[in-house]
């Protein structure tokens, strides 16, 4: 499923991390409990941050390799 192209592969990985993060955040919003609040910030937020950083890294690494 993962692409052979390095940029596309990084993009796919960041997308998968973001989806997991968004699913966690969605479930936490539904739960409405204090532990849901912690998971929303600690797990969902962290996964989304990692996914976004991975996407930005893929952009930066592609830009630097094409210079």
């Amino acid at each position: 499923m993962l692409s052979a192209n390095a940029f596309d592969r990084k993009l796919q990985i960041s997308g998968m991390i973001l989806i997991v993060g968004l699913v966690v955040e969605g479930l936490c919003l539904l739960s409405g409990s204090p532990i849901g609040f912690i998971l929303f910030i600690g797990v969902g937020g962290l996964l989304i941050a990692i996914g976004i950083l991975q996407y930005l890294y893929s952009l930066a690494s592609t830009a630097s390799s094409s210079v």
Partner: protein, 208 residues
């Protein structure tokens, strides 16, 4: 933003991201690059930001505070049918918004008070899930209750400024305003959450 709309936004974002997982070659065009930026950066930031705001607002609700088992007696104490019980009379007479009753009295009305209250809440969660929570009747505030929190609403109010007991001693009002005498000190509004004696209490059935 209502939680349902937020969940719809999260669902749409997931669907858009999925397109880039299955067809990453779309990003070879300019429109694809812009769409990828939206799907993999702008929308997740928006979802996380709005979700965090939603969660922070929800965390101020009475329902949220009382969702921990240990807080149940404190929730019951809001329904004690006795006007001398401070928390109950505030809750039942809407002197505090019933939906945010705990937060209204237990937040800190100083600078960065909201942040301090949230950090205190995180400490509660840590103790509840990972520490050894005390029995409900043994729970103590981290700091003595400050009159500042009472005066946030009562300062300037006629019932407070001109109340017979408050004005009987000319030194009392200045002492209350400078927190030298506590509003909840002995002989004044001393019964707040009397969770030890709930078994002997009558409860108000009204409200929702």
């Amino acid at each position: 933003m209502p939680t349902v709309l937020l969940l719809v936004l999260i669902g749409l974002t997931i669907a858009l991201i999925a397109v880039f997982i299955f067809r990453p070659q779309i990003t070879q065009t300019l429109a694809g690059k812009i769409a990828a930026f939206l799907a993999l950066f702008a929308l997740p930031v928006l979802c996380a930001g709005m979700g965090a705001a939603n969660e922070l607002v929800h965390a101020t609700s009475t329902k949220f505070c009382l969702s921990c088992h240990i807080m149940k007696p404190y929730g019951q104490s809001l329904r004690v049918d006795d006007p001398t019980h401070l928390a109950a009379s505030h809750f039942q007479n809407h002197r505090v918004p019933p939906a945010d009753a705990c937060y209204t009295c237990h937040t800190n009305y100083a600078m960065f008070g909201g942040i301090k209250a949230k950090l205190g809440g995180l400490k509660h969660i840590y103790v509840y899930y990972l520490g050894t929570p005390p029995a409900p009747e043994d729970i103590k505030l981290y700091e003595p209750y400050s009159n500042r929190e009472c005066l946030h609403c009562h300062a300037g109010a006629r019932s407070f400024e001109e109340g017979a007991v408050h004005t009987a001693d000319p030194e009392l009002l200045p002492a209350l305003k400078t927190n030298k005498v506590s509003c909840i000190s002995s002989g004044c509004h001393e019964v707040v959450h009397d969770v030890k004696n709930l078994k002997n209490s009558k409860f108000w059935k009204g409200g929702s």
